[in-house]
């Protein structure tokens, strides 16, 4: 699609208002139906997707912002956000890393993501999203050989419209909640993964998301479809440059695990959490949900250390008999960060099983809440859930909360829930310090031990990163 063609298409629909915006490749702040039409046209989307977006937008207009989460923040002005921006120098679409704007690559280097090396790093393909548009995709050939589709969702809409149309919005409906509806209306880009029947994805799939341009909310949409008997492990990690204004991030992730399929979704999230006074930082309001069909398995692992506010509940709908859902989470908050995170396990099928391991660490003036739901429906015969939520407190100004909802309507289902809250034990600290570790190092070691059950679920390179992240995030919280 040529630039001229896009421009003319847009000009036709918007005789006024957007011309200057097109030149700067960033829309002026504001949201209305025209913005959605612009995004859709810009991405050259088919009519059905535009209609889908508009329907979501109209639903969203009638919804109100959720207030039940244990987080506090000033009202967000959604009209002050720009809903589209694209890095300018890549409009022609780079075919390989060499064609990527060297300035972008320099930014990656600063963030410490060795993109060049990652091609060499065994088994990791990267689909990097820089301000809403995919700029580089690697290992495409190798994946294509296995029949795996791994591409930006905007591309998937053009190349595999049937697949996208069949699954988009089936797990997180357009009007599921306020932020999911907003995302459905304005989603910029994201990843699409399809693993064909019986295929074991030959490598870990990984996407790095970046937020770069000021005042640009990001609305990624990720859709992963694992066909019958297939297997995939997906890694998501994020960093963002220092910034003083709050940035809204409202992503939607949908996982579809068809009969016998397995999806493992791992996240390391270390977006800018705001400074020590609680100024700035990302607002992270995410909807993540997976649908597990018969004998399928969905496993969420997350390490959340960033964001000023986290509002995130990766969930599993265990629809098929014998399906399995897992949630392993470490959420660390420091300074003035607030997190309200957890999971929902909805048991619909017989003999469905779920495990929830949640470790919350609060330090400084932060607040960290686990909010979860385990629901056994009348037909979930023999279903099983085990939940363990532990909270660790560091400092006397922080807060830790646990809000587990447990609903059972089946006598043969077994649910166990346990939660504990305590501080880092003085005895353990004393022992470490007596062995010559300074207090900060000792706390970091104890915290790492506290999180071990979750870290061991992470792919190896993520586990290493996660350990380091905790250390960095806890800086200044001890002593």
């Amino acid at each position: 699609m040529s630039q001229a063609h896009i421009d003319s298409a847009i000009k036709k629909e918007y005789s006024a208002g957007f011309i200057s915006a097109i030149e700067s490749d960033t829309l002026p702040p504001g949201l209305d139906e025209n913005v959605i039409r612009f995004i859709s046209a810009r991405k050259n989307e088919p009519q059905w997707l535009l209609d889908w977006r508009l329907e979501a937008y109209r639903g969203w207009l009638e919804m109100s912002e959720p207030t039940w989460a244990h987080v506090h923040y000033p009202p967000i002005d959604l009209q002050a956000i720009s809903y589209y921006s694209s890095p300018k120098s890549i409009e022609d679409g780079p075919k390989s890393l060499e064609e990527v704007d060297p300035e972008l690559l320099a930014t990656y280097e600063k963030l410490g993501i060795p993109l060049h090396e990652q091609e060499m790093l065994a088994g990791v393909a990267v689909d990097a999203v820089f301000d809403s548009v995919s700029v580089a995709t690697t290992f495409r050939a190798k994946l294509a050989e296995a029949g795996v589709i791994f591409c930006p969702i905007s591309e998937a809409v053009r190349e595999y419209p049937e697949l996208v149309r069949k699954h988009l919005g089936t797990v997180v409906p357009r009007k599921d909640n306020y932020y999911a509806a907003l995302n459905s209306a304005v989603f910029s880009d994201g990843s699409f993964v399809y693993i064909p029947r019986g295929v074991r994805c030959p490598m870990e799939l990984s996407t790095y998301f970046r937020i770069n341009e000021a005042k640009t909310g990001q609305f990624e949409r990720t859709l992963i479809v694992a066909d019958e008997g297939s297997h995939v492990s997906y890694l998501e990690g994020c960093t963002a440059p220092m910034r003083d204004e709050n940035q809204l991030h409202a992503a939607v992730v949908e996982l579809v695990a068809l009969d016998g399929a397995q999806i493992k979704y791992s996240t390391v999230q270390n977006w800018y959490p705001g400074d020590a006074e609680g100024k700035g930082g990302i607002y992270n309001f995410v909807t993540k949900r997976g649908m597990a069909h018969r004998d399928a398995k969905i496993s969420w692992t997350q390490v959340e250390t960033g964001s000023a506010i986290t509002w995130k509940y990766p969930s599993c709908i265990l629809r098929g008999d014998n399906s399995v859902g897992e949630f392993y989470s470490v959420a660390l908050t420091n300074n003035y960060q607030q997190a309200d995170t957890g999971t929902k396990m909805i048991h619909l099928g017989k003999n469905t099983r779920s495990t929830i391991i949640s470790k919350g660490i609060s330090a400084g003036h932060s607040s960290n809440a686990y909010r979860g739901l385990v629901r056994m429906n009348p037909k979930a015969d023999g279903a099983r859930n085990y939940t363990q939520c532990d909270s660790l407190l560091i400092g006397d100004r922080c807060a830790a909360h646990t809000f587990p909802y447990i609903e059972s309507r089946n006598p043969s289902a077994v649910i166990e829930h346990e939660a504990t809250t305590s501080k880092v034990s003085d005895d353990q600290l004393y022992l470490c310090q007596q062995r010559g570790l300074d207090a900060e190092k000792a706390v970091s070691m104890i915290v790492n031990g506290f999180c071990k059950e979750v870290f061991k679920e992470l792919p190896m390179e993520f586990a290493v990163e996660a350990g380091k992240l905790l250390e960095v995030s806890l800086e200044g919280s001890v002593g």
Binding site: W68, M376, P378, S391, L393, I394, G395, D396, R397, C398, A399, A400, H401, T402, F403, P404, Y405, I406, E407, S408, R409, N410, P411, S412, A413, V414, I415, E416, H417, E418, A419, T420, T421, S422, K423
Partner: protein
């Protein structure tokens, strides 16, 4: 909106003593300013108050029990006060009170007593209360004030019984109890609610305020034995001063609608509370216990255990909150809630909550939902016990562990016998699947 109580409120305002009139007006203002909870109201997510949407006449005075044998009361060595449809029954009540205990009914309070009561009334239920506490305030024509003199160790329990019987139409009862335990005193208070089988629909709104002064010890029992169409929405609100000890036991048999809020506030250092309970709904009954343990100051401990067996199409709700305020360091708090479902149509919704703002604390909670353990059943059967009997034994055992915490031996025996009869009579409570 609240027409269903209008007549009762007017009647209460007529009957209430002069010194309570402003109290009733204030309560009525708050009640009328509130909105009825719906499924969207977080605290009422699983409990519908639809059953209250009908006309309840004020409870008439002079109701009598047709047969006293209808009501099975524990024979406790102590003083007993009986209220029928909210009105005191001199005939069924003891005239003597144990040494160190004074009891004043609001309607009979002298000016000095009234001033004394007003000093304490609402100090526990005021802030923590729900809209139904406002309703209770608005209907406060009769209440009971009990004071245990400082330093008195009262061995005999005070037994307060609220009975509901026929009135010919649906009616409402307002029950209010205010207990003031003087410093270093100790005593036991048994609150018992029961109805006559096949009586009309009665809606009891009960509020008990328990105030423990420094070093006081209170053994408290709240037995809800109303069944069938007897509705109860109410709560227990306790305030604990330093070094005081509060032991509270709750029994909840189900009825069409039962919602009990238990709020325990640790307001003085070194206070300790223990709250235990058992709930046993069956048929199409509904029971909801909302407990909230507030730790406002350092160095307090609390422990809570609730167990329930849910049979037939019954529904149980349990919400156990532990709230540790900023600077309430060195707190130890724990909560356990276990549930047995014995039917495919039974339902339980449990939510143990922790809300913690201090770091040097040890808190834990646990919740389980399951049916009887097959291995345990199998073990008993290999010992020659029939399946039905094994189920009965295991279910009773499950509840009995909590009954064991009842300190008063006579009451413990009464509860055991009553529950044993119930288990024998009611196989639905022990069947793993219907």
């Amino acid at each position: 909106m609240f027409e269903f109580m209008q007549q009762s409120l007017d009647s209460a305002a007529q009957r209430a003593p002069a010194w309570l009139q402003d109290w009733l007006r204030d309560g009525r203002d708050r009640w009328e300013a509130s909105t009825m909870p719906t499924r969207k109201t977080e605290n009422w997510k699983y409990t519908s108050v639809q059953a209250l949407r009908e006309h309840f006449a004020p409870a008439a005075a002079g109701a009598r029990l047709l047969r006293e044998s209808d009501i099975d009361l524990p024979q406790l060595v102590g003083s007993r006060q009986v209220f029928i449809n909210g009105h005191h029954s001199a005939r069924l009540s003891d005239s003597e009170l144990p040494d160190g205990v004074s009891l004043v009914r609001f309607g009979e309070a002298s000016t000095a007593q009234a001033a004394h009561i007003r000093q304490y009334l609402g100090s526990a239920a005021g802030e923590a209360g729900t809209l139904f506490t406002a309703l209770n305030d608005a209907s406060l024509a009769e209440g009971v004030f009990v004071e245990i003199a400082a330093g008195h160790r009262v061995a005999q329990p005070l037994h307060l019984v609220w009975l509901t019987t026929n009135q010919g139409e649906a009616f409402s009862v307002n029950q209010r109890l205010l207990v003031l335990c003087g410093s270093d005193s100790s005593c036991a208070v048994v609150e018992q609610f029961a109805g006559v089988r096949d009586a009309n629909k009665a809606f009891t709104n009960g509020v008990s305020e328990l105030l423990l002064a420094r070093g006081a010890t209170l053994e408290h029992y709240r037995l809800h034995q109303e069944e069938g169409s007897d509705l109860h929405v109410g709560g227990v609100y306790a305030r604990l001063a330093e070094q005081s000890t509060f032991n509270s036991f709750h029994l909840g048999l189900g009825s069409e609608l039962k919602r009990i809020d238990v709020v325990v506030e640790h307001c003085g250092q070194g206070a300790h509370s223990e709250v235990n309970g058992v709930y046993l709904p069956r048929g199409s009954e509904h029971i909801d216990y909302h407990t909230c343990i507030e730790h406002r100051v350092p160095d307090c401990t609390s422990s809570e255990t609730f167990r329930g067996i849910i049979a037939d199409e019954a529904r149980a709700v349990f919400n156990g909150r532990i709230h540790i305020h900023r600077d309430a360091q060195k707190t130890r708090a724990e909560l356990s809630n276990k549930n047995l479902l014995t039917s495919t149509r039974a339902e339980v919704n449990t939510k143990p909550e922790l809300e913690i703002y201090a770091d040097d604390v040890q808190c834990a909670h646990g919740a389980t939902v399951a049916q009887l353990n097959e291995n345990a059943l199998h073990y008993l059967r290999t010992r020659g016990v029939s399946r039905t009997e094994a189920q009965s034994m295991l279910s009773f055992g499950f509840i009995n562990e909590v009954i064991d915490t009842v300190r008063n031996a006579a009451l413990r025996d009464y509860l055991r016998a009553m529950l044993a009869r119930r288990f024998a009579r009611d196989p639905a409570l022990t069947r793993p699947t219907a």
